[in-house]
Amino acid sequence: MDAFMIYLPIAGLHFNVLLLLLIGFTVGVCGGFFGIGGAWIVTPALNIFGFPMPYAIGTDLAHMGGKSIVSTIRHGKFGNVDTKLAVSMILGTTVGMEFGAWLVLRLERMGLAESVIRKIYIVFLAAIGSYVLYDYLSHVIRQRRATTSTTAPPPQGETLARKLQRINIPPMVNFTASGIRCSLWLPVGVGLVTGVVAAVLGVGGGFIRMPALIYLVGCPTLVAVGTDLFEVMITGAYGALTYGVKGRVDLVAAMWMLLGAAIGAQMGTVAVKYVRGYFIRLLFAITIFIACASVLMKQLEYGTASAVLILTAGIAISGVILGLLVRGIAQEKRRARFE
């Protein structure tokens, strides 16, 4: 295995290049499929294999920017990126993140930051995961009733997103790719809230924005994935610059990871073609529960076990996604042969 060891001059350590490719590939598959940056996989994974924490965060952010470009290009061609919506949200996210950072400083001064933030994080992840899972199960039950019943299925109650879309505060904007019309202030406000939460929790925010785009703005799942990736691309580039200027990015490691991530991101992105939106939501809920368990373990001071759990789960989830991709391609080829 020595043949695969490379020297990383910034982090100051020797590292196995295959491991960098594997971490990049795993997070690339998950990121392309769910529309997230994947810091919750990469940062503990790099840390557990010897990267000091600030370098793990900086290197992750740097490769995240590049990886999101790969996914955004493909999602864009699939028609899953609503650029107008993404730009509106970025405005809110930027302000929200600044406010969140200020809030964290206040909590730190009160000596509450560490414990309070991690507890909020656990509750937040559990709440998002539970809601997405509940939504998936309700959808499945509705579908089953519709197929077994002879009468028409009862109409679905008005969603929160529909109610929010009806709020008439000018300017009202048509978001064509998402197929929605709402006040500009809705995505700006959602961006603001998710920005505050992301900054307070110290995460990139992809896994908060993706469900927020579905349940608050009313985007179809695939557009939420693509639009979120557009935002991750911008925040990743900004993070790469700030951490790079502080000298906390190992560029050599980031380049190897990006190589693996680019392949994975392409596969993860194409996999969305072969699944229905609700299935993405189900896998997303499972992923969130695993992330929640990992943070809980960290809170209980099982740091290494928590990192191992998240890395193993990341590999398993990307395995499932790749399975879906292979099955989808095989079906497509079979169909093409018959036609």
Partner: protein, 99 residues
């Protein structure tokens, strides 16, 4: 009177000259200069050496290099793999947003 004044003056001078040394000894004094991170490029070769040298030269330049390389790689790899998928014969047109 002049003896008292002399003693007070001596005390003030002692405090004046002695206090900084005492403060220094107690851990005060001038703040230390900012720590500088340096990449160890002695055993590095090729790309690693170049990256380390840029890092040691100017961190702002390094930050810009990080962004440019990541964005450039993302763009090139994204377009290259995209082309590869087209060559594989997959249908990659616009998707229906079915839930």
């Amino acid at each position: 009177m002049s003896r008292v004044r002399g003693s007070i003056l001596a005390l003030i001078s002692a405090v004046w000259w002695g206090a900084p040394s005492l403060a220094w000894a107690a851990g005060g004094g001038k703040p230390a200069t900012k720590l500088v991170s340096v990449a160890d490029t002695r055993s590095a070769t090729g790309l690693a050496k170049w990256v380390g040298d840029v890092y040691n030269t100017d961190l702002w330049l390094y930050g810009l290099v990080v962004v440019v390389i990541m964005a450039g790689m993302g763009l090139v790899l994204g377009l290259a793999f995209d082309r590869l998928l087209v060559l594989m014969g997959l249908e990659l047109g616009k998707l229906d947003h079915h839930e």
